[in-house]
């Protein structure tokens, strides 16, 4: 182990010092990060912020404009997979035109036990379990959240409290998107053959450290369970918050979410 430790440290050191800009000080390399933080804080268009930060970082690393633009092109081509959900939009749009969201709301409003929090909790369970079994393509904001999950969550609240003010609607929708993310992220690592576990093994292999994918998946379980518990409690609190906002009458409902929306 001690040998491994020295090897790793040696590697890290040589990598640091082999880089000409490291010796120049920490600040130079982090200017790109600073551009991003300031840009986002000032609410400049994120596309511009990110592009400028990329160009600045490249220039500070003494890369030529030609090389920087080539990197922009190459990374764009490689990361096209992020927009593949667009292929599902003709189906989703068409179904929405024919009343899919209304049907989802209607289906839920007939189940008396259905509340916004419980529906989202059920979806969290399905999403996390499916991801833990390697079925990460069940779900997604375009395929599931917008056409089905969010309308159901809103429908349950409408069935109980009548028409929802827009801030409350937004709040419920944001929670629907959050559940989709939380379930996916923390289910995924439990499954052995998926990218995350293979990446971890790859990193340890580089440093000649032995690792076992099955055990790594096993040690992911406690967090996966903790996430489900914590987020379920938060969804229960969401139900209580909706009751507080909406049963007090429309005046209270339109004023309180603005401040309470953070919690």
């Amino acid at each position: 182990m001690c040998l491994v430790y020295k090897h790793a440290l040696f590697n890290a050191r040589t990598r640091c010092c082999a880089h000409p800009h490291m010796t120049g000080g920490i600040s130079v390399v982090l200017i790109g990060v600073l551009v991003v933080i300031v840009g986002f804080a000032l609410r400049v268009n994120p596309l511009l912020v990110v592009t400028v930060a990329g160009i600045v970082t490249g220039l500070l690393a003494h890369e030529s404009p030609y090389h920087i633009l080539s990197q922009f092109g190459a990374a764009f081509a490689k990361d096209r997979y992020m927009a593949v959900f667009v292929a599902t939009l003709p189906v989703i749009g068409l179904l929405e035109r024919h009343g899919l969201r209304e049907q989802a709301q209607r289906l839920v409003s007939r189940v008396r036990a259905a509340t916004t929090g419980r529906i989202l909790n059920a979806y969290l369970f399905i999403r996390e379990l499916a991801a833990a079994l390697g079925l990460t393509s069940i779900g997604g904001p375009a395929q599931m959240v917008r056409p089905v999950v969010a309308p159901m969550a809103e429908g349950a609240a409408e069935a109980a409290y009548g028409n929802l003010p827009q801030p409350v609607r937004d709040h419920i929708r944001a929670h629907a998107a959050a559940v989709d993310n939380v379930g996916l992220f923390f289910g995924e690592d439990v499954f052995v053959a998926v990218g995350a576990v293979l990446l971890m093994k790859g990193v340890f292999d580089q440093f000649h450290i032995h690792s076992t994918p099955i055990l790594m998946g096993l040690w992911a379980l406690p967090t996966a369970i903790a996430v489900f518990v914590v987020h379920s409690v938060r969804l229960y609190l969401l139900d209580r918050r909706l009751r507080r906002w909406l049963s007090a009458g429309p005046a209270a409902a339109s004023s309180s979410p603005g401040e309470g929306v953070n919690s």
Binding site: F76, D170, V182
Partner: protein
């Protein structure tokens, strides 16, 4: 072989064809620049592997400039009004769910079933991107089923796709741009600096502070990069391997997943993970683009704390 490029061609075609409607959309005050934005974006999808990287980079900059200076606006989409939607909903009922459910079901079936099938010497699905190809095929089949069920024309579904695409707007390009930035950050050595900073700060005799620095470092660096996979090699090589695994002799299997999860807490907190946090906000029509992050942060912070304590307990055990 069904290559992933065919799926990209399909996406590019949807974007490009919908831009043709946008050019003629008189309700859009910037219809020409908006149309150009989607047309270029669609063409870039189709031609990415044909064009030299430098030329594609120029196209990407053009897309950014069109969107960054307010050239991308929304128009009118001829949406069905509430009465029409209600009428067809009453007619179609739960059959509306069939195409929606077909997408995930066929994707999973495709990944599990078709990935082992070979046609001649070649696999049927591109083996490097089985899920994406399966999703593409599932979307096409679901679309055909949806046409039959709703008795609609392809043109109607294209117009509806345009409605959703333009609801997302420029945010659709953001995830790819952030990935570019991640690459540039990594090649400039931002990660090494962050790991070195963390190493300076922690007292070397304390297991707890090593665990703390690793988990918080994973979350923080993931927030910068927008991607835990980019943070993991850097922070693990910088903190976990020399200190937690090397110095304190903790088993790598016990540290790995919890460290990665600490990174995922960062993913929940950052606009840099645009495909998870910003695009859904746009897709759901939320007024604040940070609304999804606001819904997520308490869970993220609590779970980060849980991960730190858990890793410490597991390491001591």
């Amino acid at each position: 072989m069904i290559r992933v490029q065919y799926v990209y061609d399909l996406v590019g075609l949807i974007l490009f064809l919908s831009s043709l409607y946008t050019f003629r959309d008189r309700a859009n005050p910037r219809r020409i620049t908006t149309g150009l934005f989607y047309a270029l974006y669609g063409l870039a999808f189709i031609l990415a592997d044909v064009l030299p990287s430098f030329v594609l980079g120029l196209v990407v900059i053009a897309i950014v400039l069109l969107a960054g200076f307010g050239g991308v606006r929304t128009g009118s989409y001829g949406e069905a009004d509430a009465a029409d939607r209600e009428a067809s909903r009453a007619r179609l009922g739960n059959r509306l769910f069939i195409p929606a459910v077909l997408i995930p079901v066929l994707t999973v079936a495709g990944v599990e079933g078709l990935s082992r099938i070979h046609v001649g010497a070649l696999p049927l699905l591109d083996p490097t991107n089985v899920t994406l190809v399966a999703l593409g095929i599932a979307a096409v089949i679901a679309l055909i089923v949806a046409w039959i069920i709703t008795r609609s024309s392809p043109a109607t579904s294209l117009r509806e796709a345009r409605r959703l695409i333009e609801a997302i707007g420029w945010a659709a390009v953001l995830p790819q741009m952030l990935a570019v930035l991640g690459t540039l950050f990594a090649s400039a050595g931002v990660g090494t600096v962050v790991a070195r900073l963390a190493n300076h700060v922690i007292p070397h005799h304390s297991l707890f502070w090593a665990v703390f620095a690793y988990c918080v470092g994973m979350a923080a660096f993931t927030m910068i990069m927008g991607n835990a996979f980019a943070a993991f090699p850097v922070m693990t090589a910088g903190i976990a391997i020399p200190l937690i695994i090397g110095h304190f002799g903790v088993d790598a299997d016990r540290v790995a997943a919890i460290g990665m999860f600490a990174g995922y807490c960062g993913t929940l907190l950052t606009p840099m993970a645009a495909n998870f946090n910003i695009v859904p906000a746009a897709l759901l029509g939320l007024r604040s683009q940070y609304a999804v992050i606001r819904a997520q942060w308490p869970t993220a912070v609590i779970i980060l704390a849980v991960n730190i304590l858990l890793m410490y307990a597991v390491a001591k055990w």
